[in-house]
Amino acid sequence: MSLDHDSVSPNRDFKVVGSRPVRPDGVDKVTGRAKYGADLSAPDMLIAKILRSPHAHARIKSIDTSKAVALPGVKGVVTAADFGSVRRSLRAVLENCMAQSKALYEGHAVAAIAAVNGEIADAALELIRVDYEVLAHVTDVEAAMAEDAPLLHEDMITQGIDPAPIKPSNIAQFLEIGHGDVAKGFAAADAVIERSFKTEATHQGYIEPQACLASVAQDGMAELWCCTQGHFVVRDTCAQLCDIDASRLRVTASEIGGGFGGKTTVFIEPLALMLSKKSGRPVKIVMSRDEVFKATGPTSSTMMKVRIGATKDGRITAGAAELCYQGGAFPGAPVEFGAMSAFACYDLENLHVSGYDVVVNRPRQAAYRAPGAPMSTFAVESVVDEMAARLGLDPVNFRLKNASSSGSKSAYGPKFGIIGLAETLRAAKAHPHYTAPLKLGQGRGIACGFWFNFGGQTSVSMNLQMDGTVNLSLGTPDIGGSRASMCLMAAEELGIAYDKVRAIIADTASLGYNDTSEGSRVTFSAGMATIAAARDAVAKLCQRAALIWDIPVDAVVWENGEAKPSGANAGEFDPLSLADIAAKAGNTGGPIAGHSEINADGAGVSFATHMVDSEVDQETGQVKILRYTVVQDAGKAIHPSYVEGQFQGGAAQGIGWALNEEYIYGADGRMQNAGFLDYRLPVASDLPMIDTVIIEVANPGHPYGVRGVGETSIVPPLAAVANSVSAAAGVRLTHLPMSPPRVLQAIDAAKLAAK
């Protein structure tokens, strides 16, 4: 649904929306009082550990758990045999949680043991005997596409090719998007640039590992406490995998120590539930960092080709790309979103993008902020940057000349509505950063990025207390400050102070269904539902005021947090505040509450422009980020500090992806750097203060004009950093991460070529 927006203009004079109050979860988090996934315990609780495949690819001939089960203190064991058949769409989810006939990657779960403590569980894992037939493996996307590559799924026939191939392969799907005639477009170009690119897999890098506590009672009533971005989806998935009625499984989302898309699916929760079901005792599982790296979703690694043609005066005549993304051991790499996003910033007459979804012996990929878009944007924006330089054009002016605007046909088909890309480019150009002088050996890069954003199913409940304060029950785990934003929107609608509203994340038994906190949807859709719930409550407050005054309800209006007679004819009454009316609720019909259950449509797409200065050490290849500025369209910033935080967080993660982060595999198909010592996340000392500029081009699909902001900010940085480093190094960098050895290799190769 879309809310009726007529009564609220995005350009209205907001009273509390747009302010920067203290975050409601701040005290708990800085004092250590906040309860995360691993913080809950229960009487008689067991600790479970998971046996994982040491092989990248192996047939499981047999699993013997008899010695492990006989160990004193062991209370339960589960393997794939404990789970029944599930519907088609959940088969890969289940097989990723527990290997079936084959272990498809190093770290793939093979069995799980619950014992009275962790030491006994660890000892029991050692007693499980798995007879593996080790198979040839493949972890590289290009190698996996080769004709003679080891097959992960012997029955996988590539979808999307007509006629369908006869032989199975590791290519799960082929797809194409585009419009116009690219051959004609390239023929009309004065300059054509084609380059190949690679990006390596990165992990979402959340600080809190997955953790959960499951309890299934003898009467079948079940509870699950877990760290997730979507506890309703966890409930529905686990209920099906473990054969429990959804109404009998109550899931509570803990505080979350980062998710970034990686906590939108299940890994350990079905195992804990099944172990609890079998043992009759609560079961807790806490993943180690090693397990997080090896068995939860990183993003895809990619291989890409991009070709762009343009006229001398800077008009792009055609764009083409071929994208190959590996999605780990199961189909589902986000190549389609990569294809849809790659050229979204440009209004092109001629466009063709093809994509391959490839499986390899790596953990199943999970969503990571704007899944698929940062990689393809890196490739396209690198060529755009090179084209601007080739044509002798200012990189911002070149982008502005070709920028998508309202009415432009998007790469994926529909025409854009009101969008703010050009505004971000102009603001970037006007920013002092853009004209600040650079020293020798330093370079400046700029790049644009796009993400869709979406809405989805959302429920919100609002309860008015007798003292005039308000409790807001939300079902979207707070991964980026949404409790504060929802309180601001509720306060705005009700006309009360921010600190009179308290928001909580309700469990699955206490509120209607909510889609996961993903897709930059929370401030948009939960905000829309909060506003609708507040309007529902206001309508009831007006009814109660009418009853108190004994006048018709249509003679009552709600203004600035008070019920007032609508005019002189309605009668002379002193205004009634929310607190006045709430105090009389027991006499006027009982508790007052507002509700909203919606399927939110109308999410506005979002664009950003990033600028970055870097310096390259020509001797070592090390890159230092000197200055970074994010300019992004937020539609309307409900809580600007959180919006800025999203901008900065996306940039920081993008810098890590661009410079250091990388899954490194040995020849044995095993990950070599499954820990934060060897998998190098950027830390505060690696980064400058990231400057932000919030652009507000209101989204007409939201009553306050909100656009999602959580994902777009990670789309441009890969390209912006690559453009900056390429300028500083004097050579185009095409393989991420641009770690010192790769940068040095590129510099040396360029020097050699110059000779």
């Binding site: 979808q159 998007i177 979402q204 899944p371 529909p414 025409k415 809405g455 897709g519 949807r521």
Partner: protein, 81 residues
Amino acid sequence: MLHVTLSGSLKSAAGGRQTVEIEAGTIRQLLIALEREVPSLSEHLEQGVAVSIDGEIFRDTWSQEIRPGAEVFVLPRLAGG
């Protein structure tokens, strides 16, 4: 009559067919007619799709009306992080 465009993986699932002419006044009618016209899309439709109507993207909200002559695209259901 609506001129419906299939995008990306939906086009692939339809054997490369990009456009379908369909008589429909709502998303529900569109999806029923689309499955009838292109049975190979049934798995995608079961998993959920997005429908763009005159540039505005909807989930498969059955009651959403589609005006005659609207520009309609059927897209993969969006996901995110």
